[in-house]
Subunit: 412 residues, 2 copies
């Protein structure tokens, strides 16, 4: 037996939120703690109140809207995502997960379903990390990964303090920013932000975990020289060494694992002049894999490639490890609840590991967690062109609702 | 028979000029048309007047100081270089050539030598091109390569107009900025700015020409994507393509010619974020060779490498040719005058082609031209650390004096 959600209302609700901070390009500019974010939060609170939910805001602005269950001792099921966006983001990233969670409790209301467990819909503060770093900040504070006082003091590019903005928009709540009770499970629907579902023709993604990542900053130090008067054999060209390393890192994932990726996303050259041999090049490396041992091997090989490239060109090098996030394996129970819902609904589901971090990363440290992925057309993300069709929004939201209902009903 | 110059006076005169616009780091900050440049020009005019020379300033600030010859119909020999510097330049680049030319006429005075031809010492305006572009601007205007009205309107980074600065420092002269009569020859002494003389243990360089160069700007256009969610096979990474091309261009000179060089000096990445696959990369290419046909072949191969790199990564590309300077072969007569002086003085001279442009590039379009190179320690140039030992200053200035005397005496 499955429950159906209201397809039209889902689309209308998506369109309602998309009007808040909407851009001329059809996307969203709803940076965390901005006026647009306040408006979206107010809208969420109104929707929750209309659905008869009890709203509470914690000291970091994370907003929980609760529907009671029949068993006063049962641990609640938490469902949600985030309403903040990138500066030129799309209308699905984050919002789809919140809207689908709202649609789930509205559906329960429509059908008069009383669940055994309480259900809470959550809107996390600052998932994007565009304005204040790090990303997934609100869920991280809630889960105890970050100290709230430290995060309060973070400033944006204009030097504005996070706490001041949180108070200005009226979302520094009175509840402690921590789980106020044990949670049974956390479920999050999110667009894939990648092409794998579309590429394989799947309807929906059953997310079994989140990849780990290792970031580093590599520096090559050569010798600046005149590009006309310096013979080739006399050069120690930092850009040539970096280019050598970049091409090696393009090959690296193919030697690691099926799901490995490696990226050099940022690279700068000094002095960066047409007629001066580059002296200093700095670039970032980003290596991801679902398996920790594979990741460690990947970092080792990255360093070996960097060393070899430096040696070939005769430049000095340094590697600074700037970030490390362990991979997350989601718990069997909620993953199977998602898989069961996919099967019951007759969808073609594909199991995959998320290549991006999500609030679910932190939630998984608090309770059993799983995610549902919606198809992202062409894998586009963090752009106004982000697109998930309404049928894909509907399918993935229906999976979420059925999986959440399953978890909210189960005793175990 | 050779003439000797005054070694101590040469060093003293070098030190005098080095005090004008001298930096704490032991270099020079004497940007063209700055107050320091005016002071250096005034000093040059005083030195010339003290040596009994007749000074004239042309409409672009090029300053000529003339010592008459015995033959009223003979074409003069022009000797000189430039007194302007890079923002953090060394004390030799340019100044050594002007000081050595002054020392040459002082030596003629000391010894009561009357030359058949007039001798003119020149200080060219804006050789460096740091403040106003292009480099070698004054000699270019004088030789007719640039239109003076166009160059007058050039502005520096602060929007200040060249003509206003020229007038402000009092060096917009009354003479037309053009050769006022046919010249017999132009000779210029300059530090090598490269390591070849030092590397081969030569005392002095006999410069037989100036390399040609081709500059281009290459653009690779890929697709920005999330570094975590985008599988490797789905990427069109503009930086990977650029890195592929940079490593290919490192190899290119080895397939072209003994004196070929190729450089990617500037490279920028967009959006340049650690977790976004690079979408756009722009980089410059600088290919140089003494031979025009080799240069053309080099540019063809550069484009082929760029196309192949784009194809391998599946990105779009474009190549814009931004600058082309033809190679210059110096005339036999002045080159042999330099070579004869080297031999007569018992020095170990090495023939070489300049990898950098000089005022001699433009002078060569007006009259027979040659250059003398002084040893640059470690090839350093355009830095406060530029260094040419006093013995090397002396040796090269003595070669200049003897070659100039030879040309000033000869009838042919």
């Amino acid at each position: 037996m499955t429950i159906d959600i209201d397809r039209d209302r889902l689309v209308e609700t998506m369109e309602e939120q998309a009007a808040i901070g909407g851009t001329a390009g059809g996307g969203l500019d709803r940076l965390t703690l901005s006026d647009a974010d306040r408006e979206a939060r107010d809208w969420f609170v109104d929707c929750a109140a209309d659905a008869g939910l009890d709203v509470r805001v914690d000291a970091f602005g994370n907003t929980f809207a609760r529907r009671e269950g029949t068993d006063p001792d049962a641990e609640p099921v938490l469902v949600g995502s985030h309403l903040d966006s990138q500066p030129y983001g799309g209308i699905y990233d984050g919002a789809l997960g919140v809207v689908a969670a709202l649609e789930f409790v509205r559906t329960l209301n429509d059908r008069g379903i009383e669940t055994r467990r309480p259900v809470e819909v959550v809107n996390w503060t600052n998932e994007e990390g565009s304005r204040f770093q790090p990303a997934m900040q609100g869920s991280g504070v809630w889960a105890g990964a970050h100290d709230i006082e430290t995060e309060y003091e973070k400033t944006d590019a204009d030097g504005v303090r996070l706490l001041d903005e949180l108070e200005r928009i009226g979302y520094r709540g009175s509840e402690p920013a921590e789980p106020r009770e044990p949670y049974h499970a956390y479920l999050e629907l999110h667009p894939e932000q990648g092409p794998r579902l579309e590429e394989t023709g799947a309807d929906v993604g059953i997310v079994t975990g989140i990849v780990g990542l290792r970031w580093a900053e590599v520096t090559f130090e050569g010798q600046a020289n005149h590009s006309g008067t310096t013979p080739m054999h006399y050069r120690d060209d930092a850009l040539v060494a970096a280019a050598d390393a970049v091409t090696a890192l393009r090959r690296l994932p193919g030697t690691l694992g099926e799901a490995s990726v490696a990226t050099v996303g940022s690279l700068t050259v000094e002095p960066n002049s047409v007629n001066i041999v580059p002296e200093t090049v700095r670039f970032t490396t980003d290596v991801r894999d679902p398996d920790e041992a594979t990741l460690d091997r990947g970092v080792e090989r990255m360093e070996a490639e960097v060393a070899a490239a430096a040696e070939r060109e005769g430049v000095d090098y340094g590697v600074e490890h700037t970030m490390r996030a362990s991979s997350v394996d989601f718990a069997d129970r909620p993953v199977e609840a998602v898989a069961d819902a996919v099967d019951a609904l007759g969808y073609d589901g594909r199991r995959l590991v998320s290549g991006a971090g999500h609030d679910a990363t932190h939630a998984a440290a608090v309770c059993d967690t799983a995610m549902v992925f919606a198809v992202s057309e062409d894998g586009k993300s963090h752009t106004e062109d982000e697109f998930t069709s309404w049928p894909d929004c509907y399918r993935s939201a229906t999976v979420l609702a059925n999986a959440a209902l399953d978890l909210a009903e189960r005793a175990d």
